[in-house]
């Protein structure tokens, strides 16, 4: 087994560390860096609870090795709140009762954010496609869709709130997708 020294920027902060080649990215983030907002639901690429943004793209972090993230820009749910103020998506989940147990929520927020970055004014169908890689066992999705619609409206009203700084950075670094 090989060990590798990796450098990754997460929510604007530079992290580095030694990882075994087979360590999954989600385990490094949760256990190595103690950023436990990112959840593990299924471990089989099905539920989306582990969704983060890698170079701006929604990614299931249980299906990537930590070593593959070397040199990348990552955003996790911890990066959403800015200066003590909830991101409009988080506010939407609160206002529209879009969570019950909350287990799926970090992944839903990340998938929702990736969607709104590309498509600031999505239809209900586009929202449902956008979160189709994320399972919620509690809510039935209706309120999650409403929460994302709430955020879309709010973000259009106030441009400056729309993109957290580190996501903008990641977007610059990403080459297309």
């Amino acid at each position: 087994m090989s060990t590798h020294h990796i450098h990754v920027t997460i929510n604007g902060t530079a992290y580095e560390g030694d990882v075994d080649s087979r360590m999954l990215l989600v385990h490094w983030i949760r256990d190595g860096l103690q950023l436990t907002g990112t959840h593990i639901g299924c471990d089989t690429t099905s539920c989306g609870a582990c969704t983060i943004l890698v170079d701006g793209k929604a990614t299931k972090s249980c299906t990537m090795f930590a070593v593959q993230a070397n040199g990348r820009q990552i955003m996790t749910v911890e990066g959403m709140e800015q200066g003590g103020k909830l991101h409009p998506l988080q506010e939407g989940f609160h206002e529209k009762h879009a969570l019950q147990c909350g287990y799926c929520t970090p992944g839903m927020l990340m998938a929702g954010l990736a969607l709104l970055q590309r498509n600031p004014n999505p239809s209900e169908h586009e929202i449902r496609v956008g979160i189709s890689g994320n399972l919620c066992r509690c809510t039935g999705y209706v309120n999650i869709v409403k929460a994302i619609q709430y955020a879309a409206e709010k973000m259009q009203d106030s441009e400056e709130l729309s993109v957290p700084a580190q996501v903008a950075l990641a977007r610059e670094a990403s080459n297309g997708d």
Partner: protein, 288 residues
Amino acid sequence: MSLPAVFDYHPAKSVDEAIALLQQYGDDAKLLAGGHSLLPTMKLRLAQPAHLVDIGKIGGLSYIREENGAFAVGAMTTYTTIERSEVLSRHFALLPEGISVIGDPQVRNRGTIGGSIAHSDPAADMPGIVLALKADILVQGPNGVRTIKADDFFKGMFETALQPDEIITEIRFATPPARTGSAYMKLENKASHYALAGCAAVVSLGGDGTCSSASLVITGASVKATRASAVEAALVGKKLDESTVAAATAHAADGLELLEDIHGSKAYRSQMTAVMMRRAVLRAVERA
């Protein structure tokens, strides 16, 4: 938590370096592209490569270029990038249509065209699409680059014409003739989204409106992506109205080595293949 067996990780900096690593480690090595077939298989320990050669860090393997009357797509180009390519969508409607039903957005952000066809999962969508488009597959090995026709590429379940020390570098689609339409229809397993029966159709019409050529492929129902030659022959030269297409596609699955599992019996897959093929052909004709 399911961890893969231990392995050494090698981030290749160039295709040549990756080929050298494949030669050095032989059967113990595997390429890592998007990892969305390989990681799940490694977690289940169905694959336990001792060496992983990551081709995801090689620059210049992700691109879409128009050159010499063809469209060249780099092997590491993700589904998402292909799905959003306006120029590819304009010429090949079945590309975004087929990709939009692969897995989910996160899977499409990581999965690559090269990885999908190299893996040749019987239930995968891209092998069927690439075969229907009669793509050229460019493959680099220790002795240079060779081109494999899609028709010669898919050999069996998880089996292709690739040699162990070869890497797919590019997939090429020829510009289709005027009045060509294409479509992809699949009945999917609702949990995994993999195809129970997927049909890719590329249909060209002549000046008189009759079918001048048809390229039809079935995936998911059988052990590998397979050309439906009998249906193709039954369409060419005809005016493709609904009843002609229905008659020609009714036995689309005849002769296939059908799969059977908890998701569908052979009879069900056969029946659904005929339905998907009829719909795909009619939609392709509509677009021609």
